[in-house]
Symmetry: C2
Subunit: 226 residues, 2 copies
């Protein structure tokens, strides 16, 4: 337990994982800044979901940053000429966005330093996930080393800890944890190609992982499908 | 020596160091993408300089990315309420921009992966420098670990190398090296508070390091002062 309120930056996509992550950060008694990115992702409803989640959690501030990695191309999430796959396949899927988490964590670090935060929460998960390289524990561990060397704060002896409370949980375990903390999953959007009202396709990788998670958790899936 | 042309992403600020770095990348037979950032820095002339340098070096493309770290505040380079110091002081100066190089390298990594580059050149220097934490060799070494784990390319066995050819050179050595490679230093702007025409103040940390470098190199300083 901490003797006084500390500050955390929480990466908030609007999906199930990051919403749970924000609830966990709050339960660990952090005052939170939520940080979201507009990087040309197909699903505009994600950001709408992120806004609702931030509001429902009473964050200190919700920052939405316009990014330009989408313009580099190379991903089915930002480049409409690449199709979102609707069944499982081997290897890293075309929905991978080059260096996405590296850019996200870099921004979170900048905000954490300016706001004097002592933690950055990231809802990465390496169990029920899409196989992205930048969701693995060894990646986060390496980035912690960068964080420990990158900042003026670190030289002054103040540490920023990268926290990944979901990294070893199954999707069902994440959902159960979130339910215990009062997360309203009807507010979250997981689908890679949801429409603007948040209606999900039910077919993409992310939808399938979510469905499997709700099924295995034994809880009701509040997702609205097209 | 490489058997075929390889591709590099070169971070180009418009200053003396990055201009030299680009010339070195070219001399090491890379085809180069130049990458610059508009992050609310005081000196708009930096980006004008970067454009001229990119043009003079025949890069494949010069990308200028609008960043939002400036809006976080916390630095004399982006926040006009904080004064740029005009004499040397102990510790990390107020011109430090939180997590700047971390954000820059993250973007360079995204571009490198999309363009299938095998190197990222960064003109950081840990000899005649301002004491920024994210210019030190241990920081770059830690980031190389992140790069090796972050990307789809890395999982496929293709490596991206962070190259810092200036890291152990004095400013005078950098200038001599650049002169040998034909860098026109009149095109570069180092001053933290140059005016739009690139006229330098001659007083800030960056101006003083540049003056010392030219003095010690024995070469003529083409900088235009206010």
């Amino acid at each position: 337990m901490k003797s006084e309120r500390e500050i955390a930056v929480v990466l908030l996509s609007g999906g199930l994982d990051s919403a749970t992550c924000l609830a966990i950060a709050k339960s660990e008694t952090f005052d939170c800044f939520a940080l979201s990115f507009n990087y040309g992702q197909r699903s505009g409803s994600e950001l709408k979901a992120a806004k609702n989640i931030a509001l429902a959690n009473g964050v200190l501030e919700h920052k939405i940053i316009d990014l330009n990695i989408g313009q580099f191309g190379g991903s089915a999430l930002t480049d409409r000429s690449i199709k979102v796959p609707e069944r499982e396949s081997a290897g890293i899927p075309p929905t991978y966005v080059p260096a996405r988490n590296t850019v996200f964590i870099a921004y979170a670090l900048a905000l954490a330093e300016v706001k004097n935060a002592s933690a950055i929460y990231i809802g990465v998960n390496a169990v029920d996930y899409s196989g992205y390289p930048d969701c693995r524990p060894e990646y986060i561990k390496a980035f912690q080393e960068v964080v420990d060397l990158a900042t003026k704060m670190s030289i002054e002896g103040r540490k920023i800890k990268l926290k990944t409370p979901l990294i070893n949980l199954t999707k069902a375990e994440i959902i159960k944890k979130g339910k215990d903390l009062g997360v309203n999953y009807a507010n979250t959007v997981s689908c890679y190609q949801a429409d603007f009202d948040g209606l999900a396709c039910g077919k993409c990788d992310s939808c399938r992982l979510r469905q499997k998670g709700f099924f295995e958790s034994g809880l009701v899936d509040p997702t609205r499908y097209k």
